[in-house]
């Protein structure tokens, strides 16, 4: 199993991710429904437009106006996710920072992430059940297990440095890291998630940057 997850699977994941992304972007731009011209909501001023675009994609302004609780939750979730991904890149690239700092930050945001995912999952059984689909539950449960296995690795006391493994992957000669049940689960589920990203709702991580521009595009009439 270690063999499969750390040698073949990364390449399968990579292929599924890239080909899926190309397919999805093609579909996204092809299948649109034309909308009617509107009064520009933001402004005719390009700086104002840019500002309004950024407050939407980075600060989630519409959610802030509509649902403060969801906005806070969403921010907690996305910010911790972003920092966790950045932390993984740091580890893969072998960039050294103070280990105690890395551990504290990683554990803190790992816990924040887990808590926000659990609350998001509870929401799906309550107020937003009416719009939820199977996909919503599956992804959130997957994230719970990814977060749990990741935190278990942290707190099991082992030290993980996969920078050597990362470079062995790039040179197409993957060297299997030492066996660890949590590492195995974590790497397997995370790769499932990455491979799935272009095919489902997670595509919003790319599409949002496009659709958020649309309300700003209308010129005067």
């Amino acid at each position: 199993m270690m063999d499969f997850v750390f040698t073949s699977l990364p390449y399968i994941t990579f292929t599924a991710f890239i080909s899926g992304l190309i397919w999805r972007i093609w579909r996204f731009f092809r299948a649109g429904v034309p909308s009617y011209p509107l009064f520009p909501m933001a402004s005719q001023d390009n700086f104002q437009k840019f500002k309004s675009y950024l407050t939407q994609v980075l600060l989630f302004a519409p959610l802030f106006k509509n649902d403060r609780k969801l906005w806070g939750l969403s921010w907690m979730f996305h910010l911790s996710l972003f920092l966790i991904v950045a932390g993984h890149f740091r580890m893969f690239l072998g960039i050294r920072i103070d280990e105690r700092l890395a551990f504290t930050l990683g554990s803190f945001f790992g816990l924040v992430f887990l808590i926000s995912v659990v609350i998001l999952l509870f929401r799906r059984f309550g107020e937003v059940r009416v719009v939820s689909t199977l996909e919503d539950y599956v992804i959130l449960i997957l994230l719970v297990f990814i977060a749990l296995s990741g935190l278990a690795m942290r707190f099991s006391g082992n030290h993980y440095d996969l920078s050597a493994y990362a470079s062995s992957l790039i040179t197409l000669s993957p060297q299997i890291p030492e066996y660890d049940i949590f590492l195995l689960i974590h790497a397997f589920l995370a790769q499932l998630l990455i491979a799935y990203l272009p095919y489902g709702k997670l595509f919003h991580s790319i599409g949002a940057f496009v659709t958020s521009y649309y309300p700003l595009r209308w010129q005067n009439g």
Binding site: V33, S35, Q56, P62, D67, A208
Partner: protein, 371 residues
């Protein structure tokens, strides 16, 4: 710019649920924008044939107010999907029959306008005598004013135009475009073309639309796309605001009762007429009160998207109007003003149905009373 598939980015976060006055009132699945957009995409992508009935409620039980879009983290354009789906359903023979009849009547009137002219002149003459106000019909003039059916869309505007000695004439047609509610853009164009031809007949250089939400949006944004920019298009509210700002009309009396303003979705959020009506009201009202939320985040009255003209949806729209009613009651205003005929009808129906007492009036009507 290419059009993207908005349904592709929806994560079903549920922000649209509390944005929608209809969902807030019913809690029903097909009123949730996140469900609506996913379902309507099916009809837009494939020939649904006999299966179309399944999509009917999704498409027609929506007022197209776009509040969910403005409050969506990805700006998902639900109303566009609704409109296109209505268009497809209409072309396959499934539509609320009243809307279709109204749309047909409008186009027929455009084709036979000369036959209507004599009767129209007679009824306007009666109006002139009754209200002692001069109303020119199809005369050469700078401004072609397009009213709706009913004296309240003609007399106040006539008084203001005459007070500033404007060169204006009354259109024999009505501003509303019922085909727009059916998502039938071909018939929308035909309906609008009547006014363009009339404007050419009277040598107008500007078309002024009466207080009407969807008509303002259609004429303001679609008209120049189809027929160019030689003819200027404005709402009567923009015109009277200019008169006030230039000091051309003088406010002689003010309104003492507390007054609030309801932003019609198509004129405000989707049309940009947000500050003009407020400017007029602040000039004439001593106690102007904002609704909360207001401006581009204002809740729909429940009657938009043609719902007011569909008898079988009356129960739904009265239910959906509860959010608006709560907003009105919070202001404790005695006059509710607005600049859309659909909204006015709905606001009157709401007050009757729920037994609340307030007066519904257009901004132009109120200004005409004060000069």
């Amino acid at each position: 710019m290419a059009e993207v598939d908005f349904a592709d980015v929806c994560v079903r976060c549920g922000s649209c649920l509390r944005a929608c006055h209809i969902f807030l009132a019913t809690g029903r699945r097909h009123h949730a924008a996140a469900v609506k957009i996913r379902t309507l995409r099916k009809i837009l992508k494939a020939d649904v044939g006999n299966d179309a009935d399944r999509f009917y409620d999704y498409a027609f039980e929506c007022t197209g107010c776009r509040r969910c879009t403005v409050l969506c983290p990805f700006s998902v354009e639900t109303a566009s999907y609704v409109s296109r789906a209505r268009g497809l359903l209409t072309s396959s023979g499934r539509y609320p029959s009243t809307l279709n009849e109204l749309a047909e009547t409008q186009i027929m009137k455009g084709e036979n306008w000369e036959r209507h002219l004599r009767m129209f002149r007679l009824s306007i003459e009666m109006l002139e005598n009754q209200h002692s106000v001069r109303i020119p019909v199809q005369k050469e003039a700078e401004i072609l004013y397009v009213p709706l059916q009913g004296a309240h869309t003609i007399v106040p505007a006539a008084r203001i135009f005459n007070a500033v000695k404007e060169s204006w004439t009354l259109s024999i047609f009505e501003a509303s475009v019922f085909a727009f509610f059916l998502g039938d853009m071909e018939r929308v164009k035909k309906t609008v073309e009547r006014i363009k031809e009339e404007a050419e007949r009277v040598n107008a250089r500007e078309i002024v639309i009466t207080e009407c939400g969807h008509a303002y949006r259609v004429y303001r944004f679609l008209f120049p796309r189809w027929f160019g920019r030689d003819l200027k298009v404005r709402s009567i509210v923009e015109v009277v605001t200019e008169y006030l700002k230039n000091g051309e009309v003088e406010v002689k009396s003010t309104l003492k009762e507390p007054i609030t303003y309801h932003d019609p979705c198509q004129a405000g959020r989707n049309g940009g007429l947000i500050d003009e009506p407020r400017f007029v009201l602040r000039e004439i009202a001593e106690d102007f009160r904002e609704m909360n939320p207001g401006r581009e985040l204002n809740f729909c009255c429940g009657g938009g998207g043609g719902l007011v003209a569909v008898p079988e949806l009356k129960e739904l729209r009265l239910k959906a109007g509860k959010v608006k009613l709560r907003q009105i009651r919070e202001t404790e205003a005695k006059i509710v003003s607005t600049i859309c005929e659909n909204c006015k009808t709905q606001l009157k129906d709401l007050k009757e149905h729920y037994g609340i007492n307030y007066r519904v009036a257009g901004v132009t009507d109120l200004l005409a009373e004060c000069i």
